[in-house]
Symmetry: C2
Subunit: 337 residues, 2 copies
């Protein structure tokens, strides 16, 4: 067995994923990374190391005219050659600017399609082809944007879909494969791949990080991808440990559960613990931390510590956090009928 | 009172430092940062907001011939004008390459001089003029080098000298001043400063980060210094919280204290906890983590989890960690008489 496929299998074992009788969706854009993902899965199936039903799912962003159609045909053809079922959806142009920017919408719609495909086919997981390069790029993008430990360790090898706890998002290449590895794996097996078929190319900042920032960083350290990726993984481990220790701290856990915790109890928390509290408490109330940044957390922290009462911190989307009768209260905007 | 001096005083209060009757050493190289430090301290003394004995300490690295002498004379002259006692030491050329590289030696010798000055004069603290820029540069340097949460949050506002717990190293500009602020503060008060007098210029990698990397990052985010500095401070808070939670975990604390912990207990720790354990356990045994990198930790972790016994991991400086009779043992090289 070639090295790439062997590494894939080793990672599969390390992640304690099942070896037979399940169904998995392979997200394939047509770029070297996702073609390698499909190829390795197909090879492991042929060699009976994995005995699953795989599906290749392609989301056609329909953004580049004939090129988009060619990506789709290429992936369909690949699926045929690998004897893997092919599923595809073409983006609805009208919904492109529904909410947020084009890139965010495109990604959200792609993941919605992948999740839907998984549910329809009874699959327990969606496999995506993120590599060490994506890990490093995501770290750098979040660093530039302004981020704490969460953003710097955002990509995980396995996580559940927020919308559906039964389906896992699995990244079996994330902690060991580089983009160079996927390209040479494809070449070695005489399998073509689409240049610039990557979904990430929708994000011009990511492309700038890849083409300008990383080459400069590589002048300082030629192994910069591995180095930054490893830092991201270490921070992820620290963060998991921190979450673990905090959630086993009974007093802290009880406080997070409270819809209206007492300001007095919050004042007793040390500054970093209060930060952690606010993050967890707001996730409980809002579902996630989207669109919140350090300014919001600082404002809420000031609200807790200031002596004036009745003050309000405004969050994006007309949400508020306020202090009332010695309690901290989160409020969503009232929905009109 | 001008804004810079007011910010200095606000930070002094936030750090809960004393307002009178102590002695502090000001580390002054002659660059805008340290000239601003001295100037702000002198102004607060004149206005009787701080009533301390300050000393200006200058370490002459003696590396640039006449330029070095001019830096020294400049700082001595500044001290005279600010009516602050001046202390100086010129580097011993013969000891320049004692151990490690020039830059590390120079820094070590400078800090040794500052600590000695503090002890001789009964000072409780050494003030250095590190700014948000230094915080961001140090983060980026450690990121490039390969680092975990410790290296990414290496600079602290207050810490004790490792060699002497009675003397604190204080960085009163670290979390709010930028290099631009110190330069304009000097100019506003008609005080000259030495261009390129910064000690950091000994470190060519730091200069490259400042002159090449940060300008490129600023194309992505013009506030990159503040953004990266804030991330470093957040990680420092996470790290402090983590250390705090771990040290209040009795089982974990007891394990770290053991000179020869049982392999069986170590195997029960989750991967991130084991990493934390190894760091703390090795600090206890060695004094610090100098010259250790991720490879060493991975090797020790493999040693713990592998079934073969009697294996040894070699650390720099002929130190070893080995597994013997079900225990983990750290050993320093035997010193010859």
């Amino acid at each position: 067995m070639d090295k790439f496929t062997r590494n894939f299998l080793t990672e599969w074992r390390r992640l304690r994923l099942p070896f037979a009788d399940k169904s998995f969706v392979l997200a394939v854009s047509g770029g070297a990374d996702s073609v390698s993902l499909a190829l390795a899965a197909a090879r492991l199936q042929t060699e009976q190391k994995l005995r699953h039903k795989f599906l290749i799912a392609h989301y056609d962003h329909n953004l580049r005219g004939a090129e988009s159609a060619r990506d789709r045909e290429f992936v369909e053809d690949l699926a045929g050659r690998l004897k893997i079922e092919f599923v595809c959806r073409t983006a609805d142009e009208r919904r492109r600017y529904d909410d947020g920017n084009l890139e965010q919408n495109a990604r959200r719609q792609r993941y919605a399609f992948l999740l839907e495909t998984a549910r329809k086919t009874g699959s327990g997981g969606v496999l995506t082809a993120h590599t060490l390069n994506d890990l490093a790029e995501t770290f750098l993008l979040n660093l530039i944007r302004g981020s704490g430990i969460e953003g710097l360790s955002a990509l995980k090898t396995v996580r559940n879909f927020a919308e559906c706890e039964d389906v896992r998002l699995i990244r079996p290449l994330l902690v060991w494969a580089k983009r160079d590895d996927t390209e040479s794996f494809c070449r070695k097996h005489g399998i073509e791949f689409r240049q610039d078929a990557m979904n990430d190319d929708l994000d011009f900042r990511r492309v700038a990080v890849r083409k300008k920032l990383i080459p400069l960083l590589a002048e300082f350290n030629p192994a910069i991808i591995e180095t930054v990726a490893r830092t991201s993984l270490h921070l992820g481990a620290d963060r998991a440990l921190l979450d673990n220790l905090l959630s086993s701290d009974e007093k802290f856990g009880a406080l997070v559960e409270k819809p209206r915790p007492e300001i007095k109890s919050l004042k007793e928390l040390a500054a970093p613990t209060l930060q952690k509290f606010l993050r967890k408490w707001l996730v409980e109330r809002r579902g996630d931390l989207r669109r919140l940044d350090a300014t919001h957390f600082r404002a809420i922290s000031d609200l807790i510590h200031s002596r004036k009462s009745g003050k309000v911190v405004e969050l994006p989307g007309f949400e508020t956090v306020r202090k009332e009768k010695g309690k901290l209260i989160f409020q969503k905007p009232e929905v009109e009928k």
